[in-house]
């Protein structure tokens, strides 16, 4: 074969060596027994409840998009790559409801889902030559984009025994004058299912300020809380420390396939502007893609007119599912759940492989579970915590019961004989 100047064997700059949730789930799903049609696969691995009828989005949102498409007024490029002004204004208003100050449309940048907001954030930090602190466990896209952009990452711990609280001491230990341009806080938590209190968030903000770093608040699961702690946006502490807020309609409206997200500067002191972070965001947004114009066009209607009854309905289903999940897990000896989930769509549970015969670790557990029982869960190694598992409970309650029942049976079958 002729030698060409490009090719997989050249050392590459863009070498995504990080994992992604979808990447790991793909590997596990390859292990499914395709010859077993009798048992449908129970997907407890990913954060996409939209296939289930109980998790249908509101017709109001769909109608808003249909109207935008049929108007034929939104087939063009938007006037600016930062997003249609009415959409940016609507998001600014929507987020300002929960803040002690008002965001303006200039604070809001539209992205293709929260996924692209993550990409932009990491690439901007890479441009500025900075590096980042990530929680462990963490949603792996942060690490994957960091490695793709040659950005150094350091991990601080979340403490399972304390409701997955941020280990402030571990952050302080990691930072020196060369490190930590930013830390990422995912709240409500993915993968942990935790919801931080006002007090905890304030402490995080003060720590970041002390270290001179900004906070990236991943709030894609904003308002999806069903325990005692209400959702408090990190932007509340925007005058203590500059905050980049990431979010989307994907989770609250159950439409991850619509790809409508945002990157917002919750920074009333304008520090992100002064330090050129905003310029960098704008430069990058000018050359990457943006959400379809007609979806942007529908945003004001979606954000302003969706009723609380839709939101409450979804929260009720998630609460019930979280209970089922927790109760069933408690019945399984080799799995422990340090914290009942109180938000988002996930729970992190600890696996004890020593109680199992011929299961080496979490990845092995997941591969065999897929093969033998057609249930998909995510191995914690994908999130930085080996021998843990992330289980999604945002599925139809009957499917959840079925899946957890099969996991219990699997564990019993593989239990070490005494």
């Amino acid at each position: 074969m002729e030698r060409w100047n490009f090719g997989a064997n050249r050392e590459v700059m863009i070498a995504p060596s990080g994992t992604t949730v979808r990447g790991v789930l793909k590997k596990i799903m390859e292990n499914l027994d395709k010859d077993d049609p009798s048992r449908p696969t129970v997907p407890l691995g990913h954060g996409d409840p939209s296939p289930f009828p109980c998790f249908r989005t509101t017709v109001l949102a769909e109608d808003a998009i249909v109207d935008a498409v049929r108007s034929a007024k939104f087939n063009s490029y938007p006037p600016t790559m930062l997003g249609l002004l009415p959409a940016r204004r609507a998001i600014a208003d929507y987020l300002s409801h929960d803040l002690p100050y008002t965001l303006t449309p200039d604070d809001v940048f539209l992205t293709m889902g929260c996924a692209q907001a993550i990409e932009v954030t990491i690439r901007v930090l890479a441009c500025l030559g900075a590096n980042i602190l990530l929680p462990r466990p963490c949603f792996p896209s942060y690490g994957a984009h960091a490695s793709s952009n040659n950005l150094e990452v350091r991990y601080f711990d979340l403490i399972p025994e304390k409701g997955w609280e941020v280990d402030i001491e571990s952050i302080e230990a990691l930072a020196d004058e060369n490190t930590g341009a930013m830390m990422v806080i995912i709240n409500p938590g993915n993968p942990c299912g935790s919801v931080y209190t006002h007090q905890q968030l304030k402490k995080i903000a003060e720590t970041a300020r002390k270290l001179g770093i900004l906070v990236v608040a991943d709030e894609v699961y904003h308002h999806l809380t069903f325990g005692t702690n209400p959702f408090v946006p990190m932007g509340v502490f925007g005058s203590i420390v500059p905050v980049l807020t990431l979010g989307s309609i994907s989770k609250r409206w159950l439409v991850p396939g619509w790809r409508l997200g945002w990157l917002v500067t919750s920074d009333p002191n304008g520090i992100l502007q002064k330090t050129k972070v905003v310029d960098c965001i704008i430069n990058l947004l000018n050359l990457i893609s943006h959400p379809p114009t007609f979806i942007q066009g529908a945003v004001p209607h979606i954000l302003e007119k969706t009723g609380d009854d839709f939101f409450s309905k979804i929260i009720d289903i998630l609460r019930e599912a979280a209970h089922i999940c927790y109760d069933r897990i408690m019945e399984i000896p080799c799995i422990t759940c340090p914290n009942k989930p109180v938000g988002s769509m996930f729970v992190m549970v600890k696996l004890n492989p020593s109680l199992l015969e011929d299961i080496i670790d979490d990845m092995d557990f997941c591969l065999k579970l897929a093969k033998e029982d057609s249930v998909i869960v995510l191995p914690g190694v994908a999130l930085g915590m080996k021998n843990w598992l992330r289980i999604t409970f945002a599925v139809e309650p009957s499917a959840l019961e079925d899946g957890l029942g099969r996991i219990k049976a699997f564990c019993q079958r593989h239990a070490k004989k005494h």
Partner: protein, 416 residues
């Protein structure tokens, strides 16, 4: 790992985008509180004009996909299988071999396909050959990916053909690709089969692949039919970039593709494919329901719609050329044969107090509320790019005002 501050692409002064310059020009108009309606001949986006609108089939396909409620979730990161298959079939109609759906990756518009190609090819010390004049997004993406840019001139006296001798001179063992935009933006040219073949042979000789930017694919109305570079895919690996945006007049929908047109399998090597897939895993793809509408859009749009667009473009290009002939200080080296734009040369020496193309455009905007793009934005100083995918009455008025501007600024002839 890069050390020090990584400034590529961040220096605000150097990030020229077409949209950036056009909005500066527009601001110039607003400041003058002009009474004339603004005529923009600056953007390759005809969707704002009543005569150019997408087909009903496309709109309804999207509405149906949305209302089915089957596509509110995530699509696979490489794209829905039915979408990949449909695009493979669509593109294969014009190729001597069949693309497989594995060759097709769905992107958010052609712009993201550009980002992906450069990201996949970048390696330490690599360089890429870009056409001049060209499309500035390539420079911006190259900057972000630390790819050195080397320019290959397009020759105005030869129908904007690629200067292949320059390729031989500038390519070295670190060159990864040559970018070819056909039908051409900004030049409005459509390359002949023979020229495309020579480009392929030159690329092969230099061991570089071709990035074939075919976002204006099939928008050809001159003597040369559109020939996809993938036709030469067995000679030299081709990465084909395209989208629905131009042919279906829906740039706002963000549905594009990155395709490995490579029947001899250079790009089907497992490690390369893995790398592409892994990169797509971290990108956000286009909205699932728009992807789901693609098979129907590609299969059911009828020829009449395509013909109508071509006719409108051809008619507009005729108006454009005829009017330019009447303006002494502007020359048009090539009547447009395709795409939606044309490059014309300014003869600054025939104008009083106009220093260059940027000055020309700013003064034109201020005095006549007409917006055209200074050629500096696309790599050719003292040329300008005029887009003609607009209502013909708009075009006529815009050109009339431009002519009047040129007459007003013409140097007075010496009297003897």
């Amino acid at each position: 790992m890069e050390n020090g501050t990584l400034n590529h692409g961040v220096d605000t002064g150097s990030t020229i985008t077409i949209k950036g310059i056009l909005s500066l020009l527009m601001q110039n108009i607003e400041e003058q509180t002009s009474k004339k309606r603004v005529i923009s001949l600056g953007m390759g986006d005809p969707s704002a004009y009543s005569c150019f609108h997408t087909t009903h089939v496309a709109q309804e396909a999207v509405v149906d996909a949305l209302q089915s409620d089957k596509f509110n979730g995530y699509a696979p990161t490489v794209g829905l299988p039915q979408t990949r298959r449909a695009i493979a079939e669509y593109l294969s109609r014009d190729l001597p071999y069949k693309l497989s759906s594995d060759d097709v990756f769905i992107t958010s518009g052609c712009t993201q396909a550009i980002d992906v190609s450069l990201a996949m090819l970048a390696h330490p010390g690599a360089n890429i050959l870009l056409p001049r004049p060209g499309f500035p997004i390539y420079e911006l993406c190259a900057g972000f990916r630390h790819l050195e840019v080397r320019y290959i001139d397009l020759l105005p006296d030869k129908g904007w053909e690629v200067d292949l001798d320059a390729v031989d001179v500038l390519a070295d063992q670190n060159t990864v690709a040559l970018v070819v935009i056909n039908p051409g933006n900004p030049c409005g040219n459509v390359y002949s089969f023979e020229h495309l073949k020579k480009i392929a042979e030159t690329a092969k000789k230099n061991k570089i692949l071709i990035i074939a930017d075919e976002v204006y694919g099939h928008l050809a109305f001159g003597k040369n039919p559109f020939v996809p570079m993938g036709v030469f895919g067995s000679e030299v690996p081709v990465l084909t970039l395209g989208s629905l945006s131009k042919r279906w007049i829906v740039p706002g929908w963000r549905l594009g593709w990155f395709v490995t047109s490579d029947p001899s399998g250079m790009y089907r090597e497992p490690k390369t494919v893995e790398r592409i897939k892994k990169y797509f895993d971290i990108l956000g793809g286009p909205a699932t329901f728009i992807q789901a509408a693609v098979p129907r859009i590609l299969e059911q749009t009828d020829e009449a719609f395509f013909k109508k667009t071509i006719n409108l473009l051809e008619h507009a290009s005729d108006i454009l050329c005829d009017t330019i002939k009447e303006i002494p200080c502007i020359t048009c080296p090539l009547k447009p044969e395709g795409s939606m734009a044309i490059m014309v040369k300014l003869n600054i020496s025939l104008l009083e107090d106009i220093s260059d193309d940027i000055d020309f455009c700013f003064k034109l905007a201020k005095e006549e509320s007409v917006v055209i793009l200074p050629g500096t934005a696309v790599g050719l100083k003292n040329w300008v790019r005029i887009t003609f995918a607009v209502d013909s009455s708009f075009l006529e008025e815009g050109l009339r005002r431009t002519k009047s501007f040129c007459q007003r600024h013409a140097k007075q002839l010496l009297r003897y």
